[in-house]
Symmetry: C2
Subunit: 476 residues, 2 copies
């Protein structure tokens, strides 16, 4: 086991004091200098302690005054959503009506600039390389289509994925891995393996609307746990919920480059999260689809890396990093592997061979890592350019996340701006964005929008962002 770092020990010490009422709401928190003296720690440790407590939502920095204890229950309350149960299968209810209506409105519109997608522009993907590998595989094996594949998928691909994960991320076994139709199917299988209809599953809030749709389609109750762009899920809020009366059967977390927040959980949080879930019998389902897009040379740890009790189900996908047209994800379900394999078999059988062969052929060459490095660099530049333009064009009071990778910006508009009206106004002029409303079942993000930075910056994009800014100014 890793020893708990000093700053975490101190943060826990203060958290206990807040929980027990020793430190009260509104009370001034010891200054950095006082903490340094009192605990004989360095400046950086003292600062880390405050940062940690801020992440937990219990410390509030007041400019030119210092840090104050904040009432944890002034945090946004976790929201429980119950899908209409029993689901009336005679009538189409739609899952998360709002998502459907947003997606359908977008499909009907003539979109000139699409900021709604989480994908990169096609030209950033190694499409030609992958298509060439496909053609080669078709030439090499004239009977490629003559046989069904194994339920768990191509073993070479599973070996490559397991070997890559080893570098820093997690110890996944190729034998206990199942290749799926994207992360969507992986998360479906994880949920079907460990939950029953009616169970409660927690998610980060905001979270990827696709997860909310999956949960609703499986008749699961959703519990939304606040998360921040700085460090992801709020562990303090989560801990309170886990200690509450409702049994939380599973928790789905995107630890690296959360969608839409772009947050990256610090290692200490990851370790603590894994421990918390294990202690409370809550299965932790990790979606690592965006991990490879973190702009860093050293891959970040996954939740699975911190898993000592085989309580984390790891899911990921290649369609954001390699090609939108390739629907390959994978799941490593540990103790639930046999059940997941059975469910995959009865749900859709093994995936087709060709994509798996092409991806394997590319991923085993050094050009794959080179490609990823280049992609990350390109995306960083695109995010910076988009970010600067939004700052320039959007009204004062707009706040933007600065994620350390990926394609997504989470933009908080001035409070009076309704993102749904903004979405429709933008669509009318051919610009597609995603309103914050669909990232929660609880109408919490109705002045947020998600803006994708997948396309290289261009005058057309610049103009579209200027138009968006103008729309907002007109709207207010």
């Amino acid at each position: 086991m890793h020893p708990t770092p000093l700053y975490r020990q101190l943060a826990n010490h203060y958290l206990d004091a807040i929980r027990s009422g020793t430190l009260k709401t509104g009370e001034r928190f010891p200054s950095i200098r006082l903490m340094m003296e009192k605990h004989a720690v360095s400046l950086s440790t003292a600062v880390q302690v405050c940062r940690e407590l801020e992440d937990y939502g219990v410390l509030e920095a007041r400019p030119r005054s210092g840090n104050y204890i904040r009432q944890p229950d002034t945090l946004p309350k976790p929201a429980v959503t119950t899908t209409p149960a029993p689901l009336d299968t005679e009538v189409y209810l739609g899952i998360h009506e709002q998502v459907s209506s947003v997606l359908k409105a977008s499909q009907r519109a003539t979109v000139k600039v699409n900021f709604a997608s989480a994908y990169c522009a096609p030209e950033l993907y190694p499409l030609k390389i992958l298509q060439d590998h496909m053609s080669k595989a078709l030439r090499q094996d004239q009977k490629l289509l003559g046989a069904t594949g194994p339920t768990c998928g191509n073993i070479e691909l599973r070996n490559i994925l397991a070997r890559r994960a080893l570098t820093a991320k997690a110890n996944l076994s190729a034998e206990k891995m199942v290749i799926t139709n994207g992360a969507t199917e992986a998360i479906n299988l994880a949920l079907r393996a460990v939950t029953h209809p009616g169970d409660t599953v927690a998610v980060e809030s905001p979270t990827f609307y696709g997860l909310l749709q999956i949960l609703e389609s499986l008749n699961l109750r959703v519990l939304e746990v606040p998360a921040t762009a700085h460090s992801g899920i709020n562990l303090f809020a989560l801990e309170q919920l886990l200690q509450g009366p409702d049994r939380i059967r599973a928790l789905i977390v995107i630890p690296n480059l959360q969608n839409p927040l772009g947050s990256i959980m610090p290692d200490a949080h990851k370790a603590r999260l894994v421990q918390l879930c294990a202690e409370h019998g809550t299965v932790l389902i990790e979606d690592d689809t965006y991990g490879d897009l973190v702009d860093t040379e050293q891959p970040l740890s996954t939740l699975k890396h911190w898993d000592r009790t085989d309580n984390v189900i790891y899911c990921a996908s290649l369609n954001k990093t390699l090609a939108p047209g390739i629907r390959l994800g994978w799941i490593s379900a540990g103790q639930w592997h046999d059940r997941v394999e059975m469910l995959k078999h009865t749900q859709s059988r093994g995936c087709e061979a060709l994509s798996q062969l092409a991806v394997s052929a590319f991923m085993k060459t050094p050009s794959y890592e080179r490609y990823l490095r280049r992609l990350r660099k390109t995306l960083t530049q695109q995010r910076q350019q988009m970010s600067a333009a939004i700052t320039r064009y959007f009204p004062p009071g707009t706040r933007i996340t600065h994620p350390r990778g990926g394609t997504l910006l989470w933009v908080e508009l001035p409070a009076e701006q309704a993102s749904m009206a903004f979405f429709h106004a933008a669509l009318k002029v051919g610009i597609q964005i995603l309103p914050g409303d669909i990232f929660s079942n609880a109408q919490r993000f109705s002045h947020f929008v998600r803006i994708g930075c997948g396309a290289p910056y261009s005058p057309k994009i610049d103009e579209a962002l200027a138009t968006l800014g103008q729309l907002l100014k007109n709207q207010s």
Copy 2:
């Protein structure tokens, strides 16, 4: 509406008499000559009436004595299977343990001759043509992998499938069709759209073990309705069940070339089945995967063809007729289309494009129908050769079906032969068959085996069948 044919009208007349007790069990049934006189009908009509009543299980032919009324409840009883509920997700239960153990035993063995598969031998499929179409599609669109496809699948393919269905089979709309990962996913979606866990779903008995696995994985109760190789599901038994206290939410039927029976439902039965289900509020799920393998120039009608109330969900697949390595099925769910589309979106998103493009390119040429005609002819020859060899080599008392198409023979061994022991003995000498036990949850077919005729007849196959015959003789 089609008028009810004369023989059906007469059969109904006698069925009513049996139901009401006017004709009693053990009573002699009017002779063919008497019927001809009494009803002023032709010889062939009178014979058809008797045949029909035999199919219903209410008439028994005693050699050199005539036809006698048979007690319908001496029919094999429908069996209800309940999966352990609530399903213990902590432990891997396996769905239908027997299927898993049979499939796993086969995977571990060194198989020299495989009679377990329902597929044709690879050389019978147009693999090269399809692979060439794939290569061409990859060359033509350099950005093929650069975009995700629509949830419902490629619209050209859907149009082709709808147009083909029109010829005789069913009026399917391309707009209300979803391309799936094989029929497996199609049937999953159909069941998820219309049932809740715990609901009762009826199937034919015997039926394809894959359906039993799907039902178990969805926590559905299974009701097995007897079926015969001659005309499929026993409508008399079904009618009794539908009138019983249990609500049957859905019924899954393979009307053309049932797996494993090879039965083809007569049109009158199809019409009556559709009507029965509509009357009782039971959704009829049709699996038409094998329909194109019926050895006839004129395509047979589907259940959907007889559907007047939009109560039939049509599912099919191309992987038996075109290529095992292509996982493309489709579902036409009528009133439940929106819900099925939503479930497909949340379960696995739209299928990859390449297979759909290649299949479309092939299916729109006249060579597709030519290929199917040739395939059917080849399979008929293979079935006849296999059938003759089984008659030659297997012990007296063995009975074989004579399906009008497809790759499957359902072989009833002499009653004392245990098919599970036979399966293991055969596997030991490298020959794979499927024991009847796995085609029911109720141990009804433990002296049946399913033997696939997908491969061209050869001395190796002949020798393997001789070996099987010898094993049976040794075993008894």
